[in-house]
Amino acid sequence: MSIMSSYARALAVQNGRAQPVATVRHLHLSATPMVFIPLKLAGEAAAPLAALVGTDPANPRLLVVPQPRNRDLRFAFMAELAEVLLPYIEGLAGVTETVEAKTPYERCADAPQLLVPNRGGIAFTKLLGRSTRFRRTDGPYPVHPSVPVLGQWLTFLSERAEYAGSSALVSMTDALALHWATGQSSMEDANLATQLAWIAPPEGLDGPEAALVAEDPLTSPPAGPETHPDFDGQVLEYAIQAFETSGSAAQVREALRSQLEPTWTLMWQGVRLLRELPEAATVEARWARDRDQFTRETARLAEGGFPRGRVDGAVSAAIRLADLESALQAYEAQRAFDDPLVMIEHRVAGKAFSGEVVAVDATRRIVPAGKTRAAPRPLVTIRTSDPVRLSPGRRLVSSRNRKQRTEIVDITGDLVVIQVNDQMGRGATPAPGSVPEVGDVVCYAELDPSGGQRPRLPAGEDTPWTHGGPPEPYVPTDEDAQEAWS
């Protein structure tokens, strides 16, 4: 949130329609995304109730648990979900490409993309993964062999979703909020129906009118995973009773279909809206990271990898934190350099500025700190009307060369002087084009798209005494597998 997005929200109220806060699409959108709308039973931790799932807008598959308190039926549901998801995921693992690197390696040409309606959908996907990945296919409470495999994949996808810029498991409301500011609060934007009403109101209605209509649970049932309490009390309870007495799941199916289908339509409307935006420059590179991770997970599972433990150990937690921070830092920077509308946030905050180059001292050479020989360190003076809140010494990156390191030397009035530190070739003077020229319009920001470095950490088995010493290596136990699921 910033004054820019708040201004855009105010503008949306005035115009009766959501306003753009991005000019390009900042996430990858698969040609065949898997839309997954799960529902859970109220009051239970992770009792699946139903799901509408599929890659074809015209042909969703409805899965239900006619009596959600029955564990056998729940696992039957998970096995059926596996029937839909595993062929999709495993099919994508089959096609690989060779990545030209220092040591060339194979990478999956595509990776699964799951779209859920909201953050609740991501959290529930994670819970479903947690509750199934430890299950066994033998022993006291056996499940179908596909269930623990599905659990592993759902865990993988929900863990990917923690990384900024990953498109493996995406919440639609978050994806839309990244590109549009509505005239309602960000809290209300978590309601897919009202959010879309502001972004693309139906004919004859403006955003606020459409949003009011979309708030009616009769026309727009909740997008899950929670169902509406009135639906539970007035419809679902009877339908489940009917199943209990008759053994027919028909009423439950119809009831749940009525709750899921409107959201299904909204999900694909969201997909269409996002598709209309051109893809941002760095999306492909971030999707490649998703594909890398997908390739690794495929290999790990192929080698019979254990399900991920319940919690991270001290070292793996520290490594993950460093990776999450680096992913977030890189993503924020890339998004800003990809999109002038996003860069505004940083310009308003004084961490970035845009302006015209008014002077260049290209031949300047100095002896840098810690060095003995003089090296080219050109100075570039930029005139800007932005409220710059940076001080000399701060390191900046520009949109014209995201790898070049520069730092602020002086700020006087509306003139900012920066010094270019590298990426100028090996010669005594900067290579042509490596330094901006007078008249260029440039944008510099205190943002680092490279994501920074991860500190060296000990191996898990070398965890020092300060952090509790080496942990017991994780091996799945009977207890994990038998954990009653009632």
């Binding site: 949130m1 201004y7 109220a42 009632s486």
Partner: protein
């Protein structure tokens, strides 16, 4: 008849419980909510009367689940609970006594139960060992805004070596030792109400209120099973907030003083329009967060939308817009169609700048 009774009309005042008292801390800046609560007005009914029924409710599945989990924990002489207390608080094997105060010999009158609660707890506190371990459904009393209210008890009081704890049974799951932070926070606020009330009872009986622990025993289902697990929950911060909120309830008088004479929210005699006008005379402090917790929230939101208030955009947005109250004012300052007052000069300059670069970038 007090001024508050007049406001409510002939309807019975709504009973307070730990949940409603804990809710005092949810939006303490809202005069409207404070007044309706103090008068015991049924906000749910009022909102429906006004045509803005509350946007939330409770699923019958959740209610059933909560009841059955509660019964499970207490079944067989609190067998699960004793196991948990033995492992988390080192309760000795010999401490296993259980007294149920949900009625007294078949009489469930509040006063009778409260008297019995006091007697049993006092005996347990003074007689020492063996004078009682578990007390189910203790009926506690609390002074709220000068009125004594009974707290419908959903907890167990528990004694170990002279220290008393509140045991709160909740049906949300604790998965890998973590639970939904919002639900835990709500449980902590409610437990704090009981801790506070129990301390008040001890003080009134001349006992040391410090013997009531600020560590509450939270009992929840573990992972995906029904198996109960216990976690200690430190509610000192919630207690401090509660005590401060209770001490502030006197400001109701200030709100009442500002009300027009003869105003009433009586649903029986007043039309929705009249009640709406009456409610509107008391200022609300709407924020989108209200939608999750206050029965009146949709009414207040509609009011804020009519006023084109920046409140509808959320607290953070309003702060970023320099505290300007209305959306037209924001946009008017941004496009220079509205002259800024002296105190708006800075925000106006920022808004003009934002508008300029935003328009450039969108174009």
């Amino acid at each position: 008849m007090t001024r508050l009774d007049t406001l409510r009309g002939p309807a019975e005042p709504l009973d307070h419980n730990a949940r409603t008292i804990a809710a005092l801390a949810v939006n303490p800046g809202c005069d409207r909510r404070a007044l309706l609560d103090a008068a015991g007005v049924d906000k749910q009914r009022t909102a429906t009367h006004l045509g803005f029924p509350a946007p939330f409710g409770q699923s019958p599945f959740a209610i059933t689940r909560a009841k059955s989990f509660d019964a499970l924990v207490k079944a067989n002489g609190c067998a699960h609970l004793l196991r948990l207390l033995r492992s988390t608080l080192d309760l000795s094997i010999s401490e296993a006594s259980y007294s149920d105060i949900s009625d007294v010999g078949g009489n469930d009158d509040h006063q009778v139960r409260h008297t019995r609660t006091r007697a049993l707890l006092k005996r347990a506190a003074t007689d020492g060992d063996g004078a009682g371990t578990l007390f189910d459904h203790p009926l506690l009393k609390l002074t709220v805004a000068g009125h004594e209210v009974y707290l419908e008890p959903a907890v167990i009081a528990f004694q170990i070596e002279g220290r008393f704890h509140i045991v709160e049974i909740k049906s949300f799951a604790v998965i890998d030792d973590q639970a939904d932070a919002g639900q835990v926070a709500a449980a902590a606020r409610q437990s704090a109400v009981y801790v506070h009330a129990l301390r008040a009872l001890f003080t009134a009986e001349g006992l040391d209120p410090g013997r009531i622990s600020h560590n509450v025993v939270l009992v929840c289902p573990k992972d995906f099973a029904n198996h109960p697990t216990a976690t200690l929950l430190d509610v000192r911060q919630q207690l401090a907030a509660l005590e401060r909120q209770l001490s502030r309830l006197t400001r109701i008088d200030r709100i009442l003083d500002e009300l027009p004479i003869g105003i009433t929210f009586d649903l029986e005699t007043q039309s929705p329009d009249e009640v709406g006008k009456a409610v509107a005379t008391v200022g609300a402090r709407f924020a989108p967060e209200c939608l999750a917790s206050c029965e009146m929230s949709l009414f207040c939101r509609a009011e804020a939308r009519d006023r084109e208030s920046t409140d509808v955009l959320g607290r953070a947005a309003r702060d970023e817009l320099g505290g300007i109250e209305s959306i037209p004012a924001v946009l008017g300052l941004a496009d220079d169609s509205r002259p800024p007052s002296p105190e708006q000069l800075e925000i106006a300059e920022q808004l003009r700048y934002v508008r300029r670069i935003y328009t450039e970038a969108v174009a």
